[in-house]
Amino acid sequence: MSGLIYSLCALGLVMIGLYGLARAHHGLQQLLAINVMSAGVFMLLLTMAARHPPADAVPQALVLTGIVVAISALALGLALLRRLAAEEAESHD
């Protein structure tokens, strides 16, 4: 039962992330929305791991890898945003 609740929460997080992505006005907001989405996905994976008593190690490994991947992509996004801000400031001067 708790597994179902967690799964639904995870899907809810993904939906919130998608909605945020659609409505965001700024790049930072969009990046954060994607982060919320990824949190949802990871939560789903962990729920899968904990369904049966001895916790499954595979999804945990997947989440760890996924987090590393997501962080690097997020870092690239932030770097791009900073550059964009700098370039736009330059063109406004």
Binding site: V14, G17, L18, L21, G27, Q30, L31, I34, M37, S38, G40, V41, L44, L45, T47, M48, R51, A57, V58, P59, A61, L62, T65, G66, V69, S72, A73, L76, G77, L80, L81, R83, L84, E87, E88, S91
Partner: protein, 471 residues
């Protein structure tokens, strides 16, 4: 031995990609270029191997990773090796590329090789993400806010797509407890989690393949990127995501890929063909035109996939040459689009302008590039003497076998559109050539690289018979 060789196929470019970041700037081109050529050699070598399945580091599945070298993977690795090698030569000749290009390009190449080899859906996600990050960074190599904005947009679409894909992976793991593609395919049953995973993973990959209506990022990113980068993105990176679609629809989700699902793909593809073609017909800029043509051609590939799915679903149609035909179309498009982008970039550089109205004279003075573009266009349109002709022949006979008149008509109109927007360039170079103007000096060798790629696309017609026996 083979195992080490295949590992090298991935590790070598990744390692050198990292190393070029620390090599002194003056030697980067040499180091990166040589590393790229070795990677191309490794890729060609991989094509000659017999198909096999490898378990990396003796870790058994599900925790370990499986690599699979089958016909589909080999063909894609081979195409990447040939096109990537030639584009590397072009990049070597292009003095305007920043040194970081080589690190990113080698990284992307390693990611693509791993992506083609992997037999595990999660590993597929990781390689896809690695490839996206490298590609986005390559787009951002162009100075200026426009390119940065395009790169950021590309990153967002890519990330969203990956997240949806990963969500699908999580659902699949929850349902079946395995991640290996062949094991998944063996157990696949059409229930709700599988359907949801199917839809999410497909949509994620459609966004990365830039299929209408998720194509918005492509014309900006591909047109703004540096020439070599545009060629890599359009010819290869898009194909990696499409390869994922092929694996999912033809293999993993076999029982779910029904005729009605293929109709959804077909409709999206038709919209892409017309919308992309129409935009290419009307746009005022050279690289935009080529980029929009990619949107249309991706539509053609997806249409072919839809037809193949139908053929597989209807068992009365003999299922030979199904994925071969798709791979053939991929090769056609990779060669032609790389040639077209490289030639267009050379002309653009010479004219120092991207506007069609201002490049007439430069086109006139770059006959080799014009021939390359013309060959690329006729190959894309499927006119005679090219690889594209055989591809179109295969596509039309498949549509005929399936009695799919609508798709047949769409693919023909797509060809007509391709000719029409290709003709715009040819007409510019032959008839409306504009006033003489001062041109920037650009090495002729760069024109020749584009011509080589285009000629390979033509010569493919000679190699057709081993591929097409019995068609």
């Amino acid at each position: 031995m083979t195992e080490w060789g295949l590992a090298l196929l991935v590790v070598w470019p990744l390692l050198w990609g990292a190393l070029t970041m620390v090599v002194p700037a003056r030697q980067v081109t040499v180091a990166g270029g040589l590393a790229a050529l070795v990677t191309a050699g490794l890729g060609v070598w991989a094509v000659t191997l017999s198909p096999q399945f490898l378990v990396l580091g003796n870790w058994s599945t599900p925790l370990g990773l499986g690599w699979r070298l089958d016909g589909m993977a080999q063909s894609l690795i081979g195409v990447t090796a040939v096109v990537g090698g030639l584009v590397s030569v072009y990049a070597w000749l292009d003095k305007g590329l920043p040194p970081t290009f080589w690190g990113l390009w080698l990284g992307a190449w390693g990611a693509m090789n791993a992506l083609f080899l992997t037999a595990d859906v999660f590993h597929f996600y990781v390689t896809l993400e690695l490839l996206s990050v490298a590609s986005v960074a390559m787009v951002a190599l162009t100075p200026g806010a426009g390119a940065t904005r395009a790169a950021f947009r590309y990153l967002l679409v890519s990330l969203t797509g990956s997240m949806l894909f990963l969500l699908g992976v999580a659902l699949l793991y929850g349902r079946y407890g395995v991640l290996d593609m062949t094991l998944l395919a063996a157990q696949m049953t059409p229930d709700w989690p599988s359907m949801l995973a199917f839809a999410l993973m497909t949509v994620g990959l459609l966004a990365k393949t830039a299929v209408f209506p998720l194509h918005g990022w492509l014309p900006q990113a591909h047109a703004k990127a540096l020439t070599a980068v545009s060629a890599i993105l359009s010819a290869l990176v898009i194909k990696a995501a499409f390869y994922g679609l092929m694996r999912l629809w033809l293999e993993v989700f076999g029982p779910l890929a029904t005729v009605s699902a293929s109709w959804v793909l077909g409709l999206l593809a038709s919209a892409a063909i017309f919308w992309g073609g129409y935009q290419a017909l009307k746009t005022a800029r050279l690289k935009r035109l080529v980029a929009w043509s990619t949107v249309a051609q991706v539509g053609m590939l997806v249409l072919a996939l839809a037809l193949v799915v139908q053929a597989k679903a209807i068992s009365s149609v003999p299922s030979v040459h199904l994925w071969q035909g798709l791979v053939w179309l991929i090769a056609v498009h990779a060669l032609a689009k790389a040639a077209w982008f490289l030639a267009a970039g050379t002309v653009q550089k010479r004219a120092d302008s991207d506007y069609l109205a201002q490049i007439g004279f430069a086109l006139h003075r770059s006959p080799i590039s014009v021939v390359a573009m013309a060959l690329a266009v006729i190959s894309l349109a499927g006119l005679p003497f090219t690889m594209g002709f055989l591809g179109k022949w295969w596509l039309l006979s498949l549509a005929w076998e399936l009695q799919a008149w609508a798709w047949l008509l769409v693919s023909l109109l797509g060809s007509l559109l391709t000719m029409a927007y290709g003709w715009r360039l040819l007409n510019l170079s032959l008839v409306n050539r504009g006033l003489p103007q001062a041109l920037k000096p650009v090495s002729v060798a760069r024109d020749w690289v584009a011509l080589c790629l285009a000629l390979l696309g033509v010569m493919g017609g000679f190699g057709g018979h081993w591929f097409w026996e019995g068609v």
